[in-house]
C-alpha cells in the first residue's frame, strides 16, 4: 500500500490536469483547483522540510566537529536571528493603538522593522556579493577555457566575442567604422535573435518531449524512481 497509494494519487492528479486542459468545464475545473491547492500546501510544507533538514545537517556537523563546522554555526545563528526578528518583532517594536497583536505581526516586512533591517542591510548585500563574485570566476574561466582549439571552439569564441562586445555600448564606439546596420550591436542582436533562438527552440522542444514522456510514465505508474525504489 505504501507504493500503491502514492501511485494512485499521482495518476489521478495527473489525469485531472490533462483532462482539464482539453475540457475546461465542470467538474474538471473545480477538481483542478482542489488539486492545485493541495500542491500549494505540499510545496509550502516542503519549505519547512528544507528548513528542518538544513538544521539537522548543520547541527550534526557541529556535534561531530566536522571540517567547516563553524560555518554551520553561522547558519544556525543566522536562521535563529532572522526568525526571531520576523516572528517576535512586535514584542519590542512599537505598534499603533489601532492594531491588534496579530495585525501588527503581519507587518513584519514593513520598512523600519527588524526583519526589514536584516533583509536590507545583511541578506541583500551578502547575497548580492556572493552572486557578484561570479564575475571574477567567469573572467578567469574565460581566460583559460576560451581557446580556439578546434573549428567549433573557434566558432563559439567568435560568437561569444561579438555578443560580449555588442552587449556594451563601447563595442560600437570601438568599431565605429563599420557601416550603418552592420554595427557590432546589430550583429550581436542578429546572433541572439536567429542562431541562438534556433538552438534554444531545438533544446526546448527536446525538453518538452522528455517531460511529456516522463509525465506519461509517472501517470501510468511505469516510472517509480520518485518513490525511492527501482526505476
Amino acid at each position: 500500500m505504501r507504493r500503491e497509494i502514492p501511485l494512485f494519487i499521482t495518476s489521478v492528479v495527473g489525469l485531472i490536469f490533462i483532462v482539464r486542459f482539453f475540457i475546461p468545464h465542470e467538474p474538471f475545473f473545480s477538481l483542478e483547483n482542489v488539486s492545485a491547492s493541495w500542491i500549494q500546501v505540499i510545496k509550502a510544507f516542503a519549505i519547512w522540510l528544507g528548513i528542518l533538514n538544513l538544521l539537522k545537517v548543520s547541527l550534526d556537523k557541529i556535534y561531530k566537529k566536522e571540517k567547516g563546522w563553524g560555518y554551520s554555526g553561522i547558519i544556525i545563528f543566522s536562521f535563529l536571528a532572522i526568525s526571531v526578528a520576523g516572528f517576535f518583532f512586535p514584542l519590542w517594536e512599537s505598534r499603533s493603538s489601532d492594531d491588534s497583536y496579530i495585525e501588527h505581526a503581519r507587518k513584519f516586512q514593513y520598512p523600519g522593522t527588524s526583519f526589514d533591517w536584516f533583509y536590507s542591510y545583511v541578506y541583500a548585500p551578502l547575497s548580492s556579493t556572493m552572486f557578484a563574485t561570479l564575475a571574477f570566476f567567469i573572467a578567469s574561466a574565460s581566460f583559460r577555457a576560451f581557446r580556439a582549439r578546434s573549428f567549433q571552439a573557434t566558432l563559439l569564441l567568435l560568437a561569444g566575442f561579438v555578443v560580449m562586445l555588442g552587449s556594451v555600448p563601447i563595442g560600437n564606439v570601438l568599431f565605429a567604422w563599420l557601416p550603418q546596420g552592420w554595427q557590432v550591436s546589430n550583429i550581436a542582436d542578429w546572433v541572439r535573435n536567429y542562431p541562438q533562438v534556433a538552438g534554444q527552440r531545438a533544446i526546448q522542444i527536446g525538453i518538452a518531449l522528455g517531460i511529456i514522456s516522463t509525465s506519461l510514465r509517472l501517470i501510468l505508474g511505469i516510472e517509480r524512481a520518485h518513490l525511492g525504489g527501482e526505476g
Binding site: 516586512q109 520598512p111 526589514d116 533583509y119 548585500p125 556594451v168 563601447i170 535573435n193
Partner: protein
C-alpha cells in the same frame, strides 16, 4: 629499474608560456578595478536600443490610460542590480500613464523587491504630487508558494489564490481588485524574473492559456531561453540584463542605475575580451600545449 628523470623546467621560459599560466588573482585584480573605478566617474555612452527593448517600451506606451496591469516579481537580491533598475523605470512609465498596478511575487523575496522599486518610483516628484494611493492606484498582494501552480490557479480565481495582500488586508476589500476575477480582467502582464519560476512558466501557464499580453525583464543569463517566446510573439517585449535596463532607461528617457552601471560593465567586458585574446595568443605561441 629506475625511471629516467623528467627534463627540468627551462628557467628561461618565454613570456607567453608564463602568461598562459597567469595567476588568477591577477585577473581578479583587473576585473575588480574594471568594475569599481567606472563607478567613480560619469561615463555617458550612446546606448544602442535593441528591437526587443524598443518593443518593451512601446508595449507600455500603447496601453490606454488607466489600464490595469499585473506585475510579478520573481527574483531575489542577487539579481536586483540587473532587474531592479528595469522595475523602477517600468513603475514610473506605468504611473505616468495612470495605470493601476497589482504586484505579486512567486519568489519569497519578490514582494519586498517590489516594495523597494515602488518606494523609489513614488519618491519621484512627478508622482509624489499625484498622491497615488495604496489599494486604489497600486497594491502588493505579496508572496504565494506553489510556483507554476499559482499561475495556473490565477487563471481561475485571483482573489482566492491571494486571499490577503502584503499588508494583511483582505484582497477583495481593495478598491483596485474590484471586478478582478482572473487574467482577463488585466490589460497587461509584466514579469521580472531570474530563473524558475519565471518568464517561461508565465508564458506557458498564463499567456498560452488565457491569451494575456505580456512583456518581461530577465537577467542576462536567463534571457536567451526566452528569446524564442519573443520571436513567436508570445512576449511583446523583452529586456535582457543590465543592457536591457540601460536600453529601457534610454528609450523612456529615465536615466537611472542601469545607465550608471553600464560603464562598469563596458570596461569589464573589454578586460575579459583582452584576456581571452592574449590567452589565445599565448596558446598558439606556446605551441598549443594546453
Amino acid at each position: 629499474m629506475s625511471r629516467p628523470n623528467p627534463p627540468a623546467p627551462s628557467s628561461g621560459q618565454g613570456f607567453w608560456e608564463k602568461f598562459a599560466k597567469l595567476d588568477r588573482r591577477i585577473i581578479f585584480g583587473f576585473i575588480f578595478l574594471a568594475l569599481a573605478l567606472p563607478l567613480f566617474f560619469t561615463i555617458r555612452q550612446p546606448i544602442p536600443v535593441s528591437p526587443e527593448g524598443k518593443a518593451y517600451y512601446q508595449a507600455i506606451e500603447n496601453l490606454p490610460a488607466g489600464s490595469k496591469v499585473l506585475l510579478s516579481f520573481d527574483f531575489d537580491p542577487p539579481s536586483s542590480p540587473e532587474l531592479q533598475p528595469m522595475a523602477e523605470a517600468t513603475f514610473k512609465q506605468l504611473f505616468t500613464k495612470n495605470c493601476k498596478l497589482v504586484v505579486i511575487g512567486l519568489w519569497p523575496q519578490g514582494p519586498q523587491q517590489a516594495e523597494r522599486a515602488l518606494a523609489s518610483a513614488l519618491r519621484d516628484p512627478q508622482f509624489s504630487d499625484k498622491k497615488l494611493e495604496y489599494g486604489v492606484n497600486y497594491a502588493n498582494l505579496g508572496f504565494m508558494a506553489g510556483d507554476e501552480v499559482v499561475i495556473q490557479k490565477m487563471n481561475s480565481d485571483i482573489p482566492s489564490t491571494f486571499p490577503s495582500d502584503y499588508k494583511g488586508n483582505a484582497t477583495s476589500s481593495l478598491p483596485i481588485m474590484q471586478g478582478v476575477k482572473n487574467y482577463k480582467n488585466f490589460d497587461f502582464i509584466i514579469n521580472f524574473s531570474s530563473g524558475f519560476v519565471g518568464t517561461r512558466e508565465w508564458v506557458q501557464f498564463c499567456v498560452d492559456r488565457s491569451g494575456a499580453k505580456m512583456i518581461a525583464g530577465n537577467t542576462a543569463v536567463q534571457a536567451p531561453e526566452n528569446y524564442p517566446y519573443y520571436r513567436s510573439g508570445q512576449l511583446k517585449g523583452l529586456l535582457a540584463g543590465m543592457k536591457g535596463a540601460a536600453e529601457y532607461e534610454t528609450v523612456s528617457n529615465q536615466p537611472g542605475k542601469g545607465l550608471t552601471f553600464m560603464g562598469s560593465q563596458s570596461v569589464a567586458h573589454l578586460i575579459v575580451m583582452l584576456f581571452v585574446i592574449l590567452g589565445n595568443i599565448a596558446y598558439f605561441v606556446s605551441g598549443r600545449k594546453r
